[in-house]
Each structure stands twice: as C-alpha cells, then as structure tokens.
Amino acid sequence: MDKISQENIDLKMRLIEDFSNFEASLNGQSNEMIHNVRRDAIAYINENGFPTKKFEEWKYTNPANILKNDYVQAFTQPAGDLSGIDVTEVLAESNANVLVFVNGRYESSLSRIVSKGDGIFVGNLSEAYVAHKDLINSHFSKLAKNEKGAFTAMNTAFATDGAVVYAADNVQIPEIIRIINIADARTGTYLSQPRNIFIAGVNAKAMISEEFFTIGENPSLTNMITEVFCGRGSMLEHYKIQNDGANANHVGSTQIKQEADSHYSNTTISWGGNITRNNLQAVFAGNNTECHFFGLYLLSGRQHVDNHTLADHAMPNCYSNELYKGIIADRATGVFNGRIMVREDAQKTNAYQSNNCILLSDDAMNYSKPQLEIFADDVKCSHGATTGQLSDQEMFYLRSRGIPHDEARAMLLQAFAEDVIDTIKDEYLREKLDKKLIEILMSTR
C-alpha cells in the first residue's frame, strides 16, 4: 500500500474516532434530525475516503498536501485566548453587522449585530437552531450533499457553528453582514469547519461578506461550507475575501440554489493563504435567473489557489457570467476550472466565462480549464482565457512620463485587477480592498 492511501486511511480512522467522541458529548441531542445527517456524512467518509490527485477534480491541487498536517479539530478544544484578536478595523464600518468566528467558534463579545426585527435573523448556527429550528432542518445539507465529496462530508459530520443569515419574504437587510473568520494558529494545529447558511426569501435582499484572517504561524485548515438559498426574485451580493496567513490552508464549498428571477453575485478575492481551494457552484432552479461570479487571485511565494466553479443551467432563460483574473508572481500557482452545464431543458441560456492572468515570473503558473457541457440547442455560451505578461509598450509609456518602474507596474496591475474590486458594492469595504491591493502590488516583485 502506498503512503498516500495509508495517510488517507489514518485520517479516516481518526475522523471516525472524533465522531464517536463528538456523539458521546451530545447527550440527548443525538436523536435530533440534524444528527442523522451527520451520521450519514461520517458513513460517506468511511465508505469513500478522501480524494487523491488522481481524481480529475483534484488534478492540479493535491489533497494530500492539504491534509498532511495532524490537525486537531478546533471544536473539541476549549475557547482560546481572545486577547490579541483585533477586529476594530472591521467594527469601524459603523453600520455593518460583524460576526466574528475564531477557529469556527462564534465570539459574541467581538461581534456586533445591527440588523434585527421581523423576518430577519443574523447570528450564529447554534442560536439559529434554537430560534428557527424548522428553517435550519429544512435547509441544512440540502445543497452541500455528501456526494460533493469527502471535504463536504467532513464538514457536515462535525458542523457545530457558523453564520446564519435569514431574510424572510419581501425583507431587505440594508446593512452589510461581515462574517470574520479568524484562524488562531498561535498555539496549535487546528482544523476549523464553519458552516454557513444564507436564506433569502421571495424578493428579499442582502449583502454578505465572508472574510478570512489568520493569527499565528502554525499550519491550519479551514474546511468550510456555505449554503445559499436565493428565493424567487431575491437579490444577494456575496463576497469572499481571503487574507489568510502563509501557513493557512482553505477548502471552501459555496453551494447556491437560485429560484426564478433571482439575482446572485459572488466576488472571491484571494491574496493570502498557502493552499486554497474554492468550490463555487450555482444551480438555477427557475427561469430568468442572473448569476455573476467574479474572482481575483493575487499570488506570490509558493501560494496555490484553485477556483473551481459550476454554473448549472437546469432551467431556461438564465444568464450566468464569470470573470476570473489572476496576478501570479514567484513560484505561485493559480488554477481556474470553470464548468458550465446547460441541461436539455435550459433553452435560451446565456453563459459566459473568462479567465485572464498576468504572470510576473518565469516560474509562475496558471492552469485554466473551461468545461462546457451543453445539451440544449438554442443557447449562447462562450469562454475565453488569456495568460500573458505586462505590456512593455504600456510600461514604457508610463515610465516615459516620469513614473518609476515599480509604480508603473503597480498602476497597470491595479488597472487590471480593478474591474473585479469594483464589483464590491459596499463602499467602505471596497476602499479598504483598494488600499490593500496597492499595498500588495507595491510589495510584489
């Protein structure tokens, strides 16, 4: 037996043991419906194990490199020391909801919830389970099913906390909801598994930002799931901003279901972390939906970011548009795998996709893989990918006007990245991101 499969089995055994301890700690709650879902998930892992790089879906990102550290599940540990965790910059956005999770655990003392009232819930999963039990039961794991793979099942098996946003029919939440996930890697090597559920009712509206930070130098793994339900005619703005530390790994799965006439827009910005894998999948379950996926990855050192997207056109007259941009330096690697599925009934589909990259060094890499599967005959689909370097012409033009080399380069890269940053509708957040973008570009060589 080779080394990888041995590690795979060791991990499986450890998770099964974790699970029986977890189950024992639940007391009476093990009869709850949600717990049956967890049992199914651990059974799935027991049967299937974890993927290896031989799996087509993991060809460019080796799961063994993500799983190799002996992680301790963070939820089994007592709450850590919160001193040294500073979220003042986020709280400075005065009208924002701020939900802070440290190693997957909700910290109300660091959080602030401003959106309250009839038909609104902004809070954490365990509270939501008390306040809206039926709602959670009817949505939990309905999109992020075990068949999505072992990382998804692992989260489901151990999911204890996360963010829940609920806007009932015709309810609009005016304030942005910023979910701050902090990996505290100061004292241990932890696995955190946040579980988020966002539910927008008919014609509801919300803006949600998931943001990731790390403190400390130990390796960490965040294996998270976000399930997003967009009701008929709803509008959801959703951001994922990855500022993680150099030893932080991330596997995230965002599963979206859009009902008719709904509008969903996702912007994923990755400029931190060690190995990052983002799965972003939307299924259009009604007519006339509109879906946007925007992405920016800005990588240096040996960073690796893999964006796997799926726009699943199951119904007619839907529109999806994807734009992913990468700036890759040093020996870093970007992966974009964009799958568009147009099912037989999905006539009059409009689906577009593009992936553009600038490589700043000879060793920088970008793998770009469009995957269009079209089973309807009256559709408009296109994809495009470009990989190149900064234009010498543009550089010389700027320098010939007195702008030094590094500033000129940052200016051109900023212009390249800007149309993704511009999709962030929250002005406060966008300005911070702009600042950070320039900071990173000036330090990238």
């Binding site: 012409q393 010389f396 033009y397 700027l398 007195g402 200016m411 051109l412 212009a415």
Partner: protein
C-alpha cells in the same frame, strides 16, 4: 541643452544585431526648434527611442549630454524627470488607468524627484482645465482611460496635452502629424506653438513638410541611413517637399561610387 556626439545604436532583429544609428551629431540649444526629416527607415524614430530610453536598442558608441548629465546612463523615468518628453507616434492605450490619475502620478513623481511636495488636487484640477483649453482638448477626455477609444487626432492631441501638463525642457515630437487631417494637424501645431518658450526646445521628427508650415523650425536636418546627411534652415524643408528624397539617395550613391 542637448548634445549628441557620434551616437551609434543597434537593434536586435531576427537576423542579428542591425546598426540603425551610424554616428549622429546634433546640438540643440534652448529656444530652438529642430526638425529631422528623412525617408522611412532612415532611423528617425530609432533616434527618438534611444533618446528616451526605450528597451530593445543598444547604444554602441558616442554620447548624449543633456544639461550636463550623461543621458544614456538614466532610466526612462529619470530622463522624464530631468525634462525629456516624447510625443509618441503611436500613443499607447491603457485600459483601467484614467488620464487624470496617470498625469497626477506623473507630475507628482517628477516633483518628488526634485524634492518638491505633491501638487494639491485643487491646483492640479485647475491646471488640467487650463492646459486642456490651451491645446483644445475636450475636458471630458481627461477623465477617460488613457487613449482608450480616442480617435487618431484625439490621441495626438492628448500627447500635446501631456506635454503641456508636464512642461518639459526638451520635447521630441515623433511623427505627430501622421494620420492627421489638416484641421487636426493645425490644432496640434497651434498647441505646440503656444508651449514654445525661450527656455525649452523641440525636436520635430516628420516625414512631410506640412507640419513645418505651422511649427516653423530654426534648423532642418535630413537623415538618411542612420546619419544626418544635410542640415540647413527652414528652406531645406521646402526643398525636400519639392524634390522628394531621391536627390539625397542619388547624392549618396554618387558619393559612394
């Protein structure tokens, strides 16, 4: 102001290095307008590229002194900071960078190199307005991305606008007349005339004489095969207009025979 002595340069081609400039001697003083004319491929644009430090050219001999500095030792941005400006033959489109941001950065970098404080936004906007008016540029162009979606004439006018904003000591106009109709040509030339002072100098590179009807040069140089083969006053341009470049070729062939 600027002195070129036996300037030689090669460019990398598929067939190896090719010598384009074969010993250029030129002296330009403050307050003067010089024109360089010559047939295609004579090395006019290469001269502009070498003077502004574009990559891809190798200086193999000679020197360029600009206000006491060895120009060839400087990076392109340092040359600009010292007061050299090139109005491009083919201005580059830069999507995502606004004219305003571009020029503000350029001006402040030039100021920084001189130990000056950045210009205030109010002062900058006022200057933009003034200079746009001076060169006849539609003010709405200034907020657009650099040259993106500009017509040929607008691009050339934008070059002169940048010249007005940066106020260089020595400006090279590289085929600024190419691709312009007579009205656009006139407008661009008028802009340049307004910017001419006793303290700055211009080098106008052109294939045709018509631009020189508007920007009247003090000296005209004829360039052929990498050398200046004839220099004279403004009347030389007229002679070229009437007789074309053939007489130079003939003259050269006779000399070589």
């Amino acid at each position: 102001m600027i002195t070129l002595k036996d300037l030689r340069a090669t460019v990398e081609t598929e067939e190896g290095k090719k010598e384009i400039l074969k010993g250029i001697n030129l002296q330009i003083n403050a307050g003067e307008v010089h024109a360089i004319m010559g047939p295609n491929g004579s090395g006019k644009s290469t001269l502009a590229s070498v003077l502004t430090g574009r990559e891809g050219y190798e200086v193999t001999g000679g020197s360029v002194e600009f206000e006491g500095n060895d120009l060839l030792e400087l990076e392109p941005e340092e040359r600009a900071q010292h007061g050299i400006f090139l109005a491009f033959q083919y201005p580059v489109e830069i999507p995502g960078v606004s004219n305003t941001n571009f020029l503000k950065t350029a001006i402040n970098e030039i100021r920084k190199s001189k130990g000056m404080e950045p210009m205030s936004s109010v002062e900058f906007l006022k200057m933009m307005k003034e200079k746009a008016k001076l060169v006849g540029l539609d003010p709405s162009m200034t907020s657009r991305y650099v040259n993106v979606g500009f017509s040929g004439g607008e691009k050339k006018r934008n070059e002169i606008f940048q010249l007005a904003m940066l106020n260089p000591k020595f400006s090279i106009l590289d085929e600024t007349d190419s691709g312009l109709d007579i009205d656009a040509l006139k407008a661009v030339a008028e802009g340049v005339i307004k910017l001419k002072t006793n303290d700055n100098a211009f080098l106008v590179i052109t294939h045709y004489q018509r631009l020189l009807n508007f920007i009247v040069p003090d000296f005209v140089h004829v360039m052929f095969d990498g050398r200046i083969v004839k220099s004279g006053g403004k009347e030389l341009a007229l002679h070229l207009e009437e007789n074309g470049y053939d007489w130079i070729t003939d003259m050269k062939e006779t000399a070589e025979a």
